[in-house]
């Protein structure tokens, strides 16, 4: 598999994930909370591909979801970029890819990412982000992404097999 086809696969994966989130996952709510698929995409990309790919995947999926959110365009892209990068960096230096650690990291990073999103959004003048409901959203979304992390990690390995093989 060439580098080009790895990027095509990644692009298709991101587009499919965005469409599935809009059409399916955003309706599968528990306690009014939907899975945070775009955030899970950024985090798992960082875990599998390292900081640079985590940042790029986070930026791309963040921009995609920003098209459909009432908050400022670029807010999700900014946070998911940082999150993809940070998780990728931690994975490289600390976690070292044990699958169960990756699953737990995805859940924890989801909760943390939502908190940062709410705080930064409020600082930038958005309303209704940092509310009493935030902790419920963090808990349920983290649990959801815990479950989603395994297939997402597998899909990233499918997207970048040769690139990862060359680097490790």
């Amino acid at each position: 598999m060439t580098t080009a086809s790895a990027y095509v696969r990644s692009g298709l994966f991101l587009l499919t994930a965005l469409v599935l989130h809009l059409a399916l996952f955003s309706d599968l709510r528990v306690l009014g909370v939907a899975p945070e698929v775009p955030l899970a995409i950024a985090v798992t990309a960082g875990l599998v591909g390292g900081p640079e790919r985590g940042a790029i995947a986070g930026f791309a999926i963040g921009l995609g979801i920003d098209l459909y959110l009432p908050t400022l365009f670029g807010l999700s892209a900014l946070i998911y970029t940082v999150w993809g990068y940070t998780v990728g960096l931690l994975e490289e230096r600390i976690f070292r890819s044990a699958w169960w650690i990756n699953v737990l990291v995805t859940a924890a990073a989801t909760a943390g990412g939502l908190l940062v999103y709410a705080v930064l959004g409020e600082l930038l003048g958005e309303v209704n982000l940092y509310t009493d409901r935030l902790y419920t959203v963090m808990g349920v979304a983290a649990a959801y992404n815990l479950v989603l992390s395994l297939p997402l990690l597998g899909l990233w390995h499918w997207s970048w097999p040769r690139l990862l093989g060359e680097e490790r």
Binding site: D27, E52, F59, P70, V127
Partner: protein, 281 residues
């Protein structure tokens, strides 16, 4: 060496992406038009894929809502059964009330909504995220004559307004439950114009400004849009019913709790009133 190069490159990538995001944020905060047009174009490009996926996955979403909302549905059914019994007993009174409301609206010179050009739109996406509980997206936009701020109604009454410049074939509706949503209202039978604001998801609206303490208001009174000069809403659109009255002795005002007459949960179709107060008012 290779690791060092990779780390340097990834730092450069991070800085580049962060600067790009920050630039987009700044431009969007300043309503930079080319950016908004690009957003619309991108959104329109994804639209067909999304509509197709919506159709495919709609039964899954419905089934999920049925399963997770079963208890809620049961208690809602029970409440509706009791409500129906009450309504059957009060049918005559209710029809009298409807006639009274109609005549009051006539007396106040409030035109009917049906006289205003309108566009019916389908709700294509209710909340896609976990923080946007107060907005929905509809499949009608600028090419249908929709503009920023136009009122959006259902049979029950006002449900919100168009938020921001719409795309060619889609637009976003901010619901009246949004705590930042404000609308000028009139309690039918009074002459005081007051300001109602959203109370949050599943909560009633609150009237906290403008209603003097000596104005005669009773629980059960109907509340409609005031449509005062240059208001973005035409007069006479039902908002809800007064369910509680409180008094602010310090400011000499009445504080009303208003239960919205239109249900903003599980919206399917909505009507956008092509109302421009500067043209129509």
């Amino acid at each position: 060496m290779a690791t060092g190069t990779r780390t340097g490159r990834s730092r450069f990538t991070l800085i580049f992406l962060l600067l790009t995001s920050a630039t987009l944020l700044t431009l969007d905060a300043r309503d930079f038009e080319p950016l908004q047009r690009t957003e619309e174009t991108l959104s329109d490009l994804i639209s067909p894929l999304r509509s197709g996926a919506d159709r495919v996955f709609e039964p899954v979403g419905d089934a999920w809502a049925g399963v997770t909302g079963y208890d809620e549905l049961e208690s809602e059914n029970e409440a509706l059964r009791q409500e129906l019994q009450k309504l059957e007993g009060q049918q005559i009174l209710d029809s009298d009330a409807a006639i009274r409301l109609e005549s009051l609206l006539d007396v106040l010179g409030l035109p009917y909504v049906q006289d205003i050009p309108n566009v019916v739109g389908e709700v294509v996406t209710a909340n896609v995220g976990n923080f946007d509980r107060y907005s929905v997206q509809i499949n009608r936009g600028a090419e249908d004559g929709i503009r920023n701020g136009m009122p959006v109604v259902t049979r029950g009454g006002l449900i919100g307004r168009i938020d921001g410049d719409p795309g060619r074939g889609h637009s976003r509706v901010t619901l009246l439950t949004d705590p930042s949503f404000e609308v000028g209202v009139l309690v039918v039978g009074t002459e005081d114009v007051a300001l109602a604001s959203g109370g949050g998801h599943g909560e009633p609206l609150m009237v906290t400004k403008g209603l003097e303490i000596d104005t005669e208001v009773a629980i059960g009174d109907e509340v409609v849009t005031s449509g005062v000069d240059r208001s973005r809403y035409p007069p006479g659109i039902p908002i809800g019913t007064v369910t509680d009255i409180d008094f602010d002795e310090a400011r000499l005002l009445q504080l009303l709790t208003v239960e919205p007459s239109a249900n903003t949960d599980s919206l399917s179709f909505v009507t956008v009133l092509l109302y421009d107060p500067l043209e129509d008012g």
